[in-house]
Each structure stands twice: as C-alpha cells, then as structure tokens.
Amino acid sequence: MATDYESHTYDVIVIGAGGAGLRAAIEAHQRGLRTALVCKSLLGKAHTVMAEGGVAAAMGHVYAEDNWKVHFRDTMRGGKYLNNWRMAQLHAQEAPDRVFELEAWGALFDRTPDGRITQRDFGGHRYARLAHVGDRTGLEMIRTLQQKAVSLDIDVFMECKILQLLSDTDGRVSGAVGYWRPSGEFITFSAKAVVLATGSIGKSWQFTSNSWESTGDGHAMAIWAGADVIEMESVQFHPTGMVWPLSVRGLLVTEGVRGDGGVLRNSEGSRFMFDYVAPMFRAETAETEEEADRWYDDHTDNRRTPDLLPRDEVARAINTEVKAGRGTPHGGVYLDIASRRPAEYIRRRLPSMYHQFMELAGVDITTTAMEVGPTCHYMMGGVRVDGDTEAATVPGLFAAGEVAGGMHGANRLGGNSLSDLLVFGRRAGLGAADYAEARSGVPTLQDAEVETVIARSLEPLGREQGENPYEVHRDLQETMQTLVGIIRKGPELEKALVKLGELSARVDNLSVSGGRAYNPGWNLATDLPAMLTTSTAVAQGALARKESRGGHTREDYPDADPELGKVNFVQHQRDHRGPGQPIDIGPEPIPEMPPELRELLEEGH
C-alpha cells in the first residue's frame, strides 16, 4: 500500500546547506525564482563550519604581485594538471569578488594594518592568499551565508534527508523524494532544476575529519540519475589528524600549526620530512634544519621547510615512517610546536587547536608534542559539470562544492575549497536559474518512482531478522580504511570490490528497530546505499588509474604516467540505474587547454 507524503513545487531546489548550497540558493532566489534549500541537519551545522585556515583569493592585499594568473597556476600544479582548467580559471578570477561580497553581507575577516582583509600563507600557494578569521574561517563563512539566506526569507527544509532524485518521463531531473528526520514523514519536491551541494564522502572511512553527514548522498544520487562522475579515486588524506584518544582519531589538526612553526618528528626525534623531498620540489625546499628555521622569518633568502610540502607528500611520508616502526605509541608521528614557540604565541595563533587538545586529549600543546597521522579529509572527485554553469551531464541537474568534480584535479590546495564553494555555488545558482526559466510547464513526477523509493527505504523497519546498520557501517569503514586508504595496491583494491559487493548484499538485508521519528538507526540504514555506491566508485577508479598522482597513490605503480595525466576516469550507470547496480568506468581525454592558459603554467615556474 502506498505511503502518504507531502508535496512541494519549486523552480529550483538546492540539496545541502553548506557554503555551496547556501550560496546557490541565494543566487537562484535573488534571480526571482521560487527556491528551496533542503538539508539533513539544522541550518548552520553543515561541514563548512569546520573549515579552519581560510579562503584562497588573489586579492593581493599582502603581496601586490599576486593575481588570478598565479592562483590559477598554483591550483593546476597542486592538482597535478588533472583539473578542469576552465573551473580553475573561473575560480581564480572570481574568488576575490566572492570574498568582498561576503564582507558586504557581514563577514568580519581579520585585517591588515591599513584596514584591508589580511591574507595568510598556506601550502602550495606562492603568495599569502588566504583571507581568514583566526582558525574559524568556515564558521564565519557559513554564518554569513546563513544570515543572508534568512534575511532573504528563503524557504529552508531542515533535518530533511533526500533519498533520491526524481525524473520526468523525458529523463530530465525534476525533483527529489526524502523524509523529515524528526517525524519520519515522507516529502517530495517537484522542481525545474535541482542543485546538488551535498559535500563529501569521508564517513566511509574509519579515520576521517568528516562529520556524520559526509555519506556521499549527492555523488550517489547523481550516479543513480545517470550522471557522469569523474576522478572518484582522488581522495585527499590530510597529513595531520589526531590519533589519540581513539574516540577523536581523525579529527583535524590544522596545517596552520606547521605554518606557524610546528615541525614533524619521528619517535627517534628526527625531522624526517627532509628525507622525503620529491625531485619536483627540491629546488624550492630547504636542505638543512637551519635554513628551514630561517625561512619562517625570511622567505627571500631561504627556502621553504619540507614540513610544508603539499598534503599528499606529507601524508605519504608519515605513513612510511609509521610503517617503518618509527611511529609514536599510538601510531602517529609527533607534531612539535611546544619546543619551538612560546606558549603565549601558540595560544594566540592557534586557539582552537589549543582547546581541542587540552579538552579532548588532556594534552597541553604549549608544553607537549601532539601525536598526529593521516586522516581522510576531502573528495576531489565528483559530479562532472560544465565549468561555466555547473550543469551535470543529465538535464536539470547541477552540482557545486565538494560533490562536484574537476576543480581540484588530483589534489586540492588548502584554502581552495572555501573559495570553490562561493564561486561555484553562485554559478550553480545562476545555471539552475537560467535552466529553470527556460523550462516550461510544471515538471511532473512519476508516482511509481516515488513509491518505489519510499517502499525501499522502509524495508529495514519491516524486517525482523537482518543486519544491524551500525555493524555494516563499521565493516564498510574497515574495508575502505585498510584496502582503499592512503596507499593502494591492485590486489587489495580487487579484494575491496569483492567485499563491497558482499556489503551491498548486507545493505539489502538491513533491519532496524523502532519507528520512523528521529530514529538514527533507520537514518543510517537510508545513508548506507549511497555510501556503498560512492565507495565502489572510489575503489573502481583507484583500480583503473594505474599510476600515482596527487591524492591517489598506488604502491604497484609508484610513478606518474604522462599518458594517464591526459585523461579523466569517468563513471556512470547507463541502462540499469540505482543502488547496487553496476557502474561503468572508462578514460576520457581532458579537453585541450587554450594556449593563453597553457602559457600561464609555463611562465616563470
């Protein structure tokens, strides 16, 4: 028997209310379109809130030499040239305007002595480029956007989980179906355009800096709707997550610790990063501890400390040290700022890190070295979009932020995610608005499709004997952590795919107790299909890319392959779509970069 559900009609719905979703909704609303913002948690709690370091924008406030061209080059180099160059270009060009716009909406960034927005140094950025508010930039951004959206009176559906996208009979994406978490009642949206802004996939790994929401809903829903996803193998492991206590393992320790003078040491006390400088970074990296230490005060006559190599390089080095038996008692390495900077300086520059370690680990970072290790942090891969409009490859669907792929290539630079949210959130809002305005009539949903999705989501509640969703989730995390982690091998990836197949069968046999109203067991059961689909795509991508590039490292193919540097691995479901269905994968050439952009990469590198 069909379950009742409420129905809403909009021009544009935006799924996800982090930075990208809020920015997209604001733009579509300001264009005069009926816009709804739908999010799994309360408004203002999305993962953007956890961003610390800053938002990268070549405003040139600290170094007047900085401009979009340098930012573009840094981004492409950091991404090992797998980036969607059009996105990298638009991002570098438009990020300053998006930051100024936030300021006009109430954001209070830290200032230069002459009263402008100040900018901080970060890994991979040639100039100090990150606009920031202490180490809580993400909070400032999401609160500013949230307050702007509230002042515009945009309709917000909070704690509303979207299960699946819906299509009309012509195959255009035309809405979505989900449920209210507080009541468990179902809800459908009919919309001329849908923007995905659902963030990351990190909750499929055991040790991650991501919150519970990062279950890859948007990545999976796009695949199920027939859209292409690209570069799913490109997962960023941040080198410094907490490793102890176990309950907070994976929690982020900002790159700012190293930017402000902290260094990595192994259990023998050695600054091991000097042993891991890859040839492409040798010319710009200090060779001795003395030179590295001088660099903090004098960038001109000294080279950068190897502690601040790109994230992929540092994460691999830590992994190697621990495997070689030179790790800490809890399986990490030491991050030491206590012996190098005065206590007062540490508390002032890194207030939230100080409190995080003090309150959660009982460690005073002004007197004691931190224990850190790599943690699953960011998804570079995602929905394949048009750089200008953020349109996916199925009509009616748009994507922005972490759920979209291409912008960051094989490795993201710190600070480029917050600017990505603003630039492409706005563009997705515009793209969706243009599309919705051009689309005539009210999209019609197919009742049978709605009922199928609802019935499937309710199955675990009706099943007496079945799998516990928490156990399936734990086994999925263990599989991804051990077999599709920071260092990958062909046989292990094949094993992972077999295990993911087994887990997929277990997901079809979930059983949960209790009712539908605010039932976390049932909520997890409805998140798991998306986690399985995205995890499968990551493992398939990792198996297909037989090289090491950026965040993707293959022990059996340790070098970058120039030929593979010219292709994206594209995945999609064509004929049989939906959870558990096979996903096709194949390489497609990256479009040729126009000569005027190519010149920028070559100039003065």
Binding site: A46, L139, P182, W522
Partner: protein, 294 residues
C-alpha cells in the same frame, strides 16, 4: 577499565523516563562516544543530534548531570564517579530522547534586522582590526543554544518566548550594533520586542558558553546601556523630542568620511503611546544639560 553507566532520558512529547545503560569504559571517551556505543548495540533508535564531534557546530547540546553542555566536549573522566545523567535541553520542546525542537531560535533569527552597510567604495571597505574585535568575539558563536537553555527568563517560562530573544540573539544584536559599517539602529526593537530589559544579568549564559564568549559583560550590559541612553536617559528623552540620528544613513556613510557628515536634526511628533520615561533624578537638573547624548 571499570564500567561506566549512563542514565539517558528516553521519550517524546507525551512523556518518558530515564533508561540505564552500563558499558565498559574506554580511555579518553567523551559522553557522545558512549551514546554512540549505546546506539550501536543496545538502543539503535536512541535519538541524539550531533555533527562535527569537535565542538565546532553546536549540535549535541544536552544537560549532563543537570548542567547544560556539549556531549562531544565533555570527557567522561572529568565527571564524578557514579552514573552520568544525560537529559535533553529543558527550555525547548522534546522531539525524541535527547533531541529538542529548537525552532524558536530560528524564528527569532528571522526578526533580527540584517547587516546594512553603505555601498562599498571602489577600493573596498577599510576597517581596523581593533574596531572589529568586539563583533568578532560574538561571531565565534556556534549556535549551540545552551545560553538560551540555561536562561531562566525562558527556561521555566514558555510564555516569555514571544517577547524575549534570549542571550544568543543579544550577542547577535550586539555584533551588528558594534559593527563599524552597520547603519541600522536596533535599539527600539531591543527595548520593545526583544525584551532586553527582562535579562537581569545573572551571567548563567556566560558560564555555559562553550566558546567562552562574555555574553553578559561584553554584549548584554553594553546593549542595555545603549537602550537606556536611547529610552530612559533624560537627555535622550529630550533628544527624541527633537530627534537626532546617532547612526549614519547609508547615503551619509557612502558620502564620505564621518567627520564630513553633519548631524541631522529633525522635529518629530511625540509618539502617541509614550514608553516609560524616567524623569530627571533627584538632585539633577535636566535643563542644565545642553549637549546630545553621545
């Protein structure tokens, strides 16, 4: 390690009771970890809101041994021995178990007049760090609503919610009022609609704030002073008779440097329903005062 036990409130708007759970202790755990282990084993449907598990999102607010706090930042080994009581925030209606309906806060947020800066000059806004630090303190707020929960004006007085914004929104008002570029004046609203006068500065909000924002000292008291200036001060009373704008209009602010702006005086009719106005205090002679209130 020894066992730990939690007494968790289970139920919904129709009622409920505490349920006891005993588990093996694990080193370094916070209360939220124990809740998660209960969910994964004994009670998969135990409702609890959480997101970041790092004290940054303000989702997992509850009352731990009767004290409002974040479940993710309260370590089990800092609590006294014996069962730990975990209850939902009392100031808000219960949805299920530890999850409350905090929509009151989202409704109040809609009533705050937004930031209204002058148009940006071509070279962008200029503000000094020292001038923005007051507002930056309030913008550390993670909206955990613990200050709202502990505030006795609404904690046991549901009826006050229609006329009282609460500490979270007093710091929001303060943040906007102290923003160097803002041109809105929210003092009348604070006085008459947001119920600022109902706060009697017991500082409970400051005590529970996980971001250590000095809500009472740095926001509420300065706001009260501003409202008093505008409403009760005898000079302010005179000022209302011959109104003087103390904030810039957007046009004025855009026009140039503050020192170039002349004060705008205009005569306004007396309001029909005059708010309570304090007269000159004993021993003071209002007629001797000639300057404006600022």
């Amino acid at each position: 390690m020894p066992d730990c036990s939690l007494r968790v409130w289970r139920g919904d708007q129709d009622g409920g009771a505490f349920a006891d759970y005993t588990l093996a202790s694990q080193e370094g755990e916070v209360v939220l970890d124990v809740i998660h282990r209960i969910q994964a084993t004994e009670a998969p449907d135990l409702a609890c809101r959480w997101n970041c598990k790092a004290g940054k999102c303000g989702s997992c607010s509850a009352e731990i041994n009767g004290r409002p706090g974040l479940l993710c930042m309260t370590r089990m080994d800092t609590l006294p021995e014996g069962p730990v009581t975990v209850a939902p925030m009392r100031a808000f209606p219960i949805l299920r178990d530890l999850v409350t309906d905090v929509s009151f806060n989202y409704e109040v947020a809609k009533t705050v007049p937004p930031f209204a800066p002058p148009p940006a000059p071509p070279e962008g806004y200029r503000m000094q760090q020292i001038d923005i630090e007051r507002s930056q303190e309030f913008r550390k707020c993670i909206e955990c609503f613990l200050c709202q929960d502990v505030c006795h004006v609404v904690r046991d007085h549901e009826e006050n919610k229609t006329t009282y914004a609460g500490p979270r929104f007093f710091i929001r008002f303060a943040e906007l009022e102290m923003h160097p570029l803002d041109t809105n004046d929210r003092r009348e609203l604070l006085h008459h609609k947001a119920g600022l006068g109902m706060c009697n500065i017991t500082k409970c909000c400051t005590e529970v704030c996980p971001e250590h924002i000095k809500i009472t000292d740095n926001a509420i008291i300065p706001l009260k002073e501003r409202v008093v200036d505008a409403s009760f001060d005898p000079v302010g009373w005179l000022g209302r008779k011959i109104r003087r704008r103390t904030k810039l209009t957007p046009e004025q602010a855009a026009a140039g440097r503050p020192e170039q702006i002349t004060t705008v005086w205009e005569t306004v009719p007396a309001p029909t329903a005059e708010p309570v106005v304090a007269g000159p205090r004993d021993g003071e002679d209002a007629t001797e005062t000639t300057a404006g209130s600022e």
